[in-house]
C-alpha cells in the first residue's frame, strides 16, 4: 500500500545542556531499537526505520519547539522524547498536539504532564514516582532503617520522587530527618552535605542522577565521613557509579525499574556490543520508547500517528507474549501473525493509561564494586 519505504522516528533529547552526558547513551538506546527493527525487515512489509536526532537543549523551550517543528516538517511518524519535563511540555503543547504526533518520553516524569489534555498522544516509559517511592520505602523498612536523610535533584523527577519516598516512608512509620534539594552540575556540594549530616539519619537517600549532582553528593558525604551507606533510587543505579566512587560504595542499595526476566541483562549485553553504556539512566527506557512506537505501528498496520496511537497500550501491556530486548523481530512477526504481545523491554514497561507507566523493580546492592541484583519487587 502507499507507504514510503522508510519511516522516520524523531529522537528529541537535550544533546547540549545539563544532562548532555546522559542523552548520548539514551539516543544510542533508541537507535538500537530502531536499527533492530529496521534490520529485521519485518516492519510493515519491509519498511526500514531510521532515527533522526535533534537537540532539545533540555531547558530551552524555544529551541526544543523549533526542533520539534523540524521533525514534523521532515515527516517523522513518531517522536521519542523529549527528555526534560519542561521542554516535553512545550513540545507536546505546541507541536505534537496541534500536529497530532505521538510522543513517548523515556524520562519526563512531571505529574503535570499526566493531567494535560493530550488527545491520547503522549506516553512515557519512565516509571512512576509514586510507585518507586513505595518500593523504596519498603526496601528501607525491610532493612531495618528507622530514619533517613533525603536529598533530591532539583527538577521534576527528583522532586516527585522525593515527595513519594518521603510520604511512603512516613506512612510506614519511618522518620525523614531532612529533605534537601541539590542542583545538578554545580561546583560544590559541601553545603548540602553539611546540612544533611547535621540532620542525621540511618542512611542518606539520594534521589538524583548517578553522573550528576547525585554522585557529587555521595562523594562529598563519603569524604566527610557522614554516611557509609546510601539509598539509591533508579537514577543512581548504573555501573558508572561504583566505578566512579570506588569500594566505599559497597553495601549501598536501592532499586531500579526492571523485570525479573532477562530484560535489563539482555539490554546491557546488547549495548555493550553496540558500544554504549546501557545502564546509563533512561537509556533502557529510551530503547523501550522507540520499540513501542514501532511495534504499535506494526500492530496498527500504519505509520499514521492518529491510527497507531490506539495500539500503544495494547502492545505494551498484558495479556500477550512477553517481549524482551533483542526480540523485536520476533515481536513484529507475532504481531503480524495476529498474536497479542506484552512488551516488557529493558525497563519492564507497563503503561497504566496514557502518559503513565508502572512496573516491577529490581533490588540492587553494590557488592565488590558492581551492582548486584538481590531480588525483585
Amino acid at each position: 500500500d502507499g507507504h514510503s519505504k522508510e519511516v522516520k522516528i524523531g529522537i528529541h533529547f537535550g544533546f547540549t545542556g545539563p544532562i548532555e552526558s546522559l542523552t548520548g547513551h539514551m539516543a544510542d538506546g533508541a537507535e538500537l531499537a530502531i536499527k533492530e527493527v529496521s534490520d529485521s525487515g519485518m516492519l510493515l512489509d519491509g519498511m526500514t526505520a531510521v532515527g533522526m536526532r535533534v537537540d532539545s537543549g533540555c531547558i530551552d523551550n524555544g529551541l526544543a519547539v523549533s526542533n520539534g517543528e523540524r521533525l514534523i516538517a521532515d515527516g517523522v511518524a513518531g517522536i521519542v522524547g523529549s527528555d526534560c519535563s519542561g521542554v516535553t511540555g512545550a513540545v507536546l503543547q505546541n507541536v505534537a498536539i496541534p500536529n497530532g504526533m505521538v510522543m513517548i518520553s523515556p524520562s519526563a516524569t512531571s505529574p503535570g504532564l499526566t493531567t494535560m489534555e493530550d488527545n491520547g498522544l503522549f506516553f512515557r516509559t519512565s516509571p512512576s514516582d509514586a510507585r518507586e517511592g513505595e518500593v523504596m520505602a519498603e526496601i528501607l523498612n525491610e532493612r531495618g532503617v528507622k530514619s533517613i536523610a533525603l536529598t533530591y535533584t532539583n527538577n521534576d523527577y527528583g522532586k516527585g520522587l522525593a515527595d513519594a519516598i518521603e510520604s511512603s516512608f512516613k506512612a510506614i512509620g519511618g522518620e525523614v530527618t531532612i529533605v534537601a534539594a541539590h542542583e545538578d552540575g554545580k561546583a560544590d556540594y559541601s553545603a548540602e552535605v553539611g546540612a544533611l549530616a547535621s540532620a542525621g539519619g540511618d542512611i542518606l537517600v539520594v534521589a538524583g542522577y548517578l553522573d550528576q549532582g547525585g554522585a557529587g553528593i555521595i562523594k562529598a558525604a563519603l569524604d566527610a565521613g557522614a554516611w557509609e551507606q546510601f539509598g539509591l533510587p533508579g537514577g543512581m543505579i548504573g555501573e558508572a557509579l561504583p566505578a566512579n566512587i570506588g569500594p566505599d560504595l559497597n553495601g549501598s542499595y536501592g532499586q531500579i525499574a526492571g523485570s525479573e526476566g532477562p530484560g535489563i541483562e539482555a539490554f546491557t549485553k546488547m549495548s555493550e556490543e553496540a558500544g554504549f553504556l546501557g545502564a546509563s539512566p533512561y537509556t533502557p527506557e529510551s530503547y523501550d520508547a522507540a520499540a513501542l512506537l514501532l511495534l504499535a505501528m506494526q500492530a496498527a498496520g500504519s505509520v499514521d500517528p492518529a491510527v497507531y496511537k490506539e495500539k500503544i497500550l495494547d502492545v505494551a501491556n498484558a495479556p500477550g507474549e512477553k517481549i524482551y530486548p533483542g526480540e523485536l523481530a520476533k515481536a513484529l512477526e507475532l504481531i503480524k501473525a495476529g498474536t497479542d504481545i506484552d512488551y516488557v523491554g529493558a525497563s519492564a514497561v507497563e503503561l497504566i493509561g496514557p502518559g503513565e507507566s508502572a512496573g516491577t523493580y529490581r533490588m540492587i546492592e553494590v557488592q565488590d564494586g558492581v551492582n548486584a541484583t538481590v531480588g525483585f519487587k
Partner: protein, 337 residues
C-alpha cells in the same frame, strides 16, 4: 569532649570544605582577574579553558597510569600537570593569535571582546566535548585521604570524624604558593611591572619601550597555567565534567568581583567569601548545637536559617552586602582609578 566534637563537626563540614572550595575558586578567579586587568575584558571562556587544560592533563594521566608511572601517595595527575599547562598555553596562544589579536589591533570596545570570548567559549566547549566527551571522567589516584573521617574517629575516640583529603591540602598549598608568586611577579619583577604598566596605559607603555605583544603573551601563559592548575585540582577533588566547568564560571566571576576585579589579592579573598557564604549560611546547626547544649536542651529542629535550596541566592546576598559596604570590592579593584 562534647565541645571537641562540636568543633570537629564544624571543621569537618564547614571549615575544611570551605577552605578547599575557596582555594579552588580563588585560583580560577585569579585567571579571570588577570585577563580583566591586563587584557581588559571579562573572559567567559575561562571555565572552558580550565576544562581544556584539565582534559590534556587527564589524557596524559591515563597514559601514565597505563604505563605504570605514578607518584605514590600523590595523584599521578600532578606529574601530568606541566604537560597539561603546556597544552593549554598552546591553545590560548593560538586563540589569541587567531581571534583576540584582531580586536586588540582594531581597538575594539571591551564589550566586543566579552562577546567574542563567549564565542570562544562555545568553540572550546565543542573541542573539549569532542575529544573527551561530555561524561564524567575519573582520573584521580594515589591515596585520597591524609586522614579519613573513620581513622580520625578511631584515633581520637571522638564521635565525630574529620576527613582531610590529599587534594584539599594540595589545593590550599598551591593556592598560597601561586598567589605569593603572582604577587611577587607583578609587583617586584620588571616583566610583572611592565604588565601592570600595559594594563594601565597602553600608549604610554609603548612609549616606554614595552612590547605589547610580549605582555599579552605573558598574560595568556600565566592565565593558561592558572586555569590548568585550578581545573586539575578541582577535577581531582570533585570530578571532571565539561559542563560543570562551564557552571563554575559563575562563582568564579562572583569571587573575582567581590574581591575587587583586577586585584589578585582580591581574587583570593573573593574566593573564600563566596565559598564560605555558600557553605555556612545554609548550614544546619543542629549537630553542632547538639554537642554544645546541655543535656536535654538539644535542638529538635534543624536550626537552619534557610534551606540549602537557597545556597546560591544566599551567597549572592552576602556578596551584595559585602559590596554595599565596600563598593569597589574587598581590595580596591583596578577599574576605579
Amino acid at each position: 569532649m562534647d565541645f571537641l566534637n562540636a568543633i570537629v563537626a564544624l571543621a569537618n563540614y564547614v571549615l575544611i570544605p570551605g577552605i578547599a572550595y575557596g582555594s579552588q575558586l580563588a585560583i580560577g578567579a585569579l585567571g579571570v582577574t588577570l585577563v580583566y586587568g591586563i587584557l581588559r575584558f571579562s573572559n567567559f571562556a575561562h571555565g572552558d579553558t580550565m576544562a581544556f587544560g584539565t582534559m590534556i592533563t587527564i589524557l596524559l594521566t591515563w597514559w601514565m597510569q597505563s604505563v605504570g608511572i605514578n607518584l605514590g601517595p600523590l595523584p599521578t595527575a600532578l606529574l601530568a600537570l606541566p604537560f597539561g599547562i603546556l597544552g593549554c598555553i598552546g591553545l590560548v596562544l593560538i586563540t589569541d593569535r587567531v581571534v583576540y589579536r584582531f580586536y586588540r589591533v582594531q581597538k575594539a570596545k571591551p564589550v566586543i571582546l566579552v562577546i567574542v570570548s563567549m564565542g570562544v567559549m562555545f568553540v572550546m566547549n565543542g573541542i573539549v566535548r569532542f575529544i573527551i566527551g561530555p561524561d564524567d571522567q575519573n582520573f584521580s589516584d594515589g591515596s585520597r585521604f591524609i586522614i579519613s573521617a573513620r581513622d580520625f574517629k578511631t584515633m581520637t575516640g571522638l564521635d565525630e570524624g574529620l576527613g582531610i583529603r590529599t587534594t584539599q591540602v594540595i589545593t590550599v598549598v598551591t593556592a598560597i604558593v601561586v598567589v605569593a608568586a603572582l604577587f611577587w611577579f607583578l609587583n617586584k619583577t620588571r616583566a610583572g611591572k611592565s604588565m601592570r604598566a600595559y594594563s594601565d596605559n597602553e600608549d604610554l607603555a609603548l612609549l616606554s619601550g614595552i612590547n605589547p605583544e610580549r605582555v599579552v603573551m605573558m598574560t595568556w601563559i600565566i592565565v593558561a597555567a592558572l586555569a590548568t592548575i585550578a581545573g586539575t585540582l578541582y577535577g581531582l577533588d570533585k570530578s571532571f565534567k565539561p559542563f560543570t566547568y562551564f557552571q563554575l564560571l559563575l562563582p568564579i566571576f562572583a569571587s573575582a568581583v567581590v574581591g575587587g576585579i583586577g586585584s589578585p589579592l582580591g581574587a583570593i579573598a573573593g574566593g573564600f567569601v563566596i565559598a564560605f557564604s555558600e557553605v555556612t549560611i545554609t548550614y544546619a546547626w543542629k549537630l553542632v548545637l547538639g554537642y554544645m547544649m546541655p543535656e536535654g536542651l538539644e535542638p529538635s529542629s534543624l536550626v537552619q536559617l534557610m534551606s540549602t535550596d537557597y545556597k546560591f541566592a544566599v551567597s549572592f546576598v552576602i556578596l551584595l552586602i559585602v559590596l554595599l559596604f565596600k563598593p569597589t570590592g574587598l581590595f580596591k579593584g583596578q577599574s576605579t582609578t
